[in-house]
Structures are given as structure tokens and as C-alpha cells.
Symmetry: D2
Subunit: 122 residues, 4 copies
Amino acid sequence: MSDTITVRGFVATDPRTNTTNGGDIVSSFRLAVTERRYDRDASAWIDGHTNWFTVVGFRQLASNMCGSLKKGNRVIVVGKLRLKQWEKDGRVYHSAEVEAESVGHDLYWGSAKFARNPQDGQ
Amino acid sequence: MSDTITVRGFVATDPRTNTTNGGDIVSSFRLAVTERRYDRDASAWIDGHTNWFTVVGFRQLASNMCGSLKKGNRVIVVGKLRLKQWEKDGRVYHSAEVEAESVGHDLYWGSAKFARNPQDGQ
Amino acid sequence: MSDTITVRGFVATDPRTNTTNGGDIVSSFRLAVTERRYDRDASAWIDGHTNWFTVVGFRQLASNMCGSLKKGNRVIVVGKLRLKQWEKDGRVYHSAEVEAESVGHDLYWGSAKFARNPQDGQ
Amino acid sequence: MSDTITVRGFVATDPRTNTTNGGDIVSSFRLAVTERRYDRDASAWIDGHTNWFTVVGFRQLASNMCGSLKKGNRVIVVGKLRLKQWEKDGRVYHSAEVEAESVGHDLYWGSAKFARNPQDGQ
């Protein structure tokens, strides 16, 4: 089945852009998602655990992420979760990646001016 | 339980803003969400059914929606689905509302300049 | 984009089964999903709005829904939301359908004995 | 914000049950979630990447998980994702946990007999 998830958090690093071997633009950034939960004892919403993700976008989405996102921005990310683990030189590495289908600034936290890409046929 | 959903589509009407009896700003717009599915016979992605929602935001989100969203924008909406039905003068009315927690322009379709609200403590 | 949603609620009608023109089994039931929200004044969780859906499943899922679900069961449903509206004899009709991909009894509320279909290759 | 996610996969280990320091029952199992994607070249659906999670449930859900789930069962899990990382004796450990709110056998793959817990007030 699929693991399409929606996560909302803040951009912890400016997006970095590269080119894949196939010539596609790829852009990625670190996203911090902190749980908010209601503490009945304190009668207040408090911060809970923080999940860290690497968000990756390709092609047109990559270009727009790179031109639009800055460290500190609050964003919504919709995409596929990929948890990976590998070994190298006797050490185990892990990553939690979201391959983004859609990314947007969260208007709960601020306002935005949007400019549609001219090449869209649709 | 809860019905928090994520929907992605285009803004079909410019946001309209009002004030609730309690003095809060409320902003709403119509959202069209068209399913995309892969047609094996045609070997192509085609449009499927379109869902129509009224997206409603309150307070700070309402102000930012009003100042940021325009008819035709592609957006991501996260919120609670509320399906309602009522009768008036012998006719039955229905609405499919999403009470938005977060709304953002979808960077898959274009770029955006974000300005954070100054009053955020967080 | 897509509208895959997860809803949790209770089965309000025993599933009814039919056959499509194409010869596929189709099964459907009514689902009531009631929002639970924390009321700070009362310091308690209370019931909020109830959404009503018609859940539809096809083929193998339809057979299993029919043999497993009873009115009153608590279930999890994952599927595509389809909001429809049509006119007939001067009246407007509406439906909120979830075309189910997966349905399961919610073990939060009880226990279940599961028997896998024998014909699964996977 | 929150990270409530829905994942569907198969139970890779029989649930293990313990008691928390506070006296609550807690039950956990390993879940494997394999992506299915349409390969246009092969004109077929193929397996993609597999995500591994530890699913954890508490109290009544824990008891029901323990009495109902077996290795190999196909399930739907709704809960909060918690990605954790810690160091011990110079090594870095990771976990991807889903704190389950709801778990159910996926009727896409088989049939189930459900028995509601007698103690539910609701």
C-alpha cells in the first residue's frame, strides 16, 4: 500500500539543489515537525516530540522549492515517507525522507504572494 | 474520532471575509479537487471526478487567506471535514465544508514569497 | 490530485451486496463519524458534529465486508472521497461516498479473529 | 502540528505485551509497509521500498492487539509517527514508532469476526 503523509513544520535548512544523473533538478531541505498536545494539568498546549525529515522534491517542484523556501518558514508537505537504513564502514546510517508531491507555505503563520509557472499547460 | 483530511486543488472563488458574532474574522472560498488517475488503456493520466468544498478559516489564518489567495491558485488544505444537511422552506440543502487548520499555495505549480506575521510569539 | 482519506466511525447499517453490470460484487454500508473534541470549560472530551458517508467496496473487499461487518461495529475506512450531486424530477440529491481501498474493525473497541482469503497469491 | 498517519502493511512479528511503570498494558509489533507503484514499462504494479515501523498500543487497544493480531496479518494502523534517535556506548540507535490510536485487520485480504469489549460505556 502507500505511505502518503501530510506533515507540517518549519524549514530547518535552506533548500539545497542538485542535478540527478538523469539530468533532473532535485532540491532538499530539513524539516522539523513538533507535536503540539494539550496538557490537562497545565491547561495549556505544549510542545511534544520533534520528528526530523529530509524533504526531497524533483523537477519543477524542486525549482520552486529552491526559489521560494527559506530557513524558518512554516510549511505543509504532502508526500511519500521513505525510511532507509544502510551500513558503511561498519556504521549504521538512517534517514527519514519525504519525497514531496506538494509543498506550501502555511498561511496560518503568514501571508504569501504566489506566481504560477508560465509553462503549465494545465 | 476525527476527520482531518488533506485536499489539493484549485481556488474556484476569491476568498470572502466576514466577522463572526464573537468578533473573529472568518474567510472562505470554494475549492475544486479533481482526481487524477492512470488510464491503462490510454497509457496516460486523466481527470476523474471533481469534489467541491467550501474552505473556511478563522482569525489569523482568515486574514492571511484573504490577503494571499486568488481565484485560480493551486493550494493544499489541511483541516476537518464537515458534511452538513439542513431543510428550509421544504427544500434540502447540503454543504461540504473543510474547517482549515493550514492552507498553502502548492509549489508544484508555481513559486511564492512568504512574509511571516509579525505578531507571532512562536 | 487525490482525496484519499481515513475515517473512523461506526457501521450504521448492515452491508448490502449487489452485482455491477460488469459482474463484480459491490458492497456498501452507511458510516457515521462523530468528531470528538476536548471541551476546556467542561474539562472533558465531548461529541461534536457527525459526518455520514456511504462506504462502497468492490470484488474481494466487498465479499469480506459483507461477511464481516455488522451494524454497530467500529471500523477504520481508507479510501477515496467522492462528493456527488444530481437532479431528478426537479429535486437535488447529494451523496458523500467513500470508495474503500481498506476497511477494518477498530481494535480500540474490541477483538477480532481474522481469516485470510485462501486465493491470495500474495 | 501533528503527524497522524495511516499506514497499511503486514504484521512482521507477533505482538509482545508488557506493563508500563504506571501499570498500563502496552503491546507492540513490527510492521512492514511496502509501496506499490505502477510500472509503465512493465504495465504492471510492482513492489517498491519497504518501510519498517514499531507499532505501539496502550491499555484496551493493547489487550485487543495482543489477542487479535498474528504474524502475517494484513492491517491498517492509524496513529502518531515518532522518529527517535539516541546514543549509547558510542553507537547511534534509531526507531520509527507509530503510537497507534486505531488498528484493524484489512478486509481487503480476508474476513474477520469482531467481538466488542463488554466494558465500553459508549
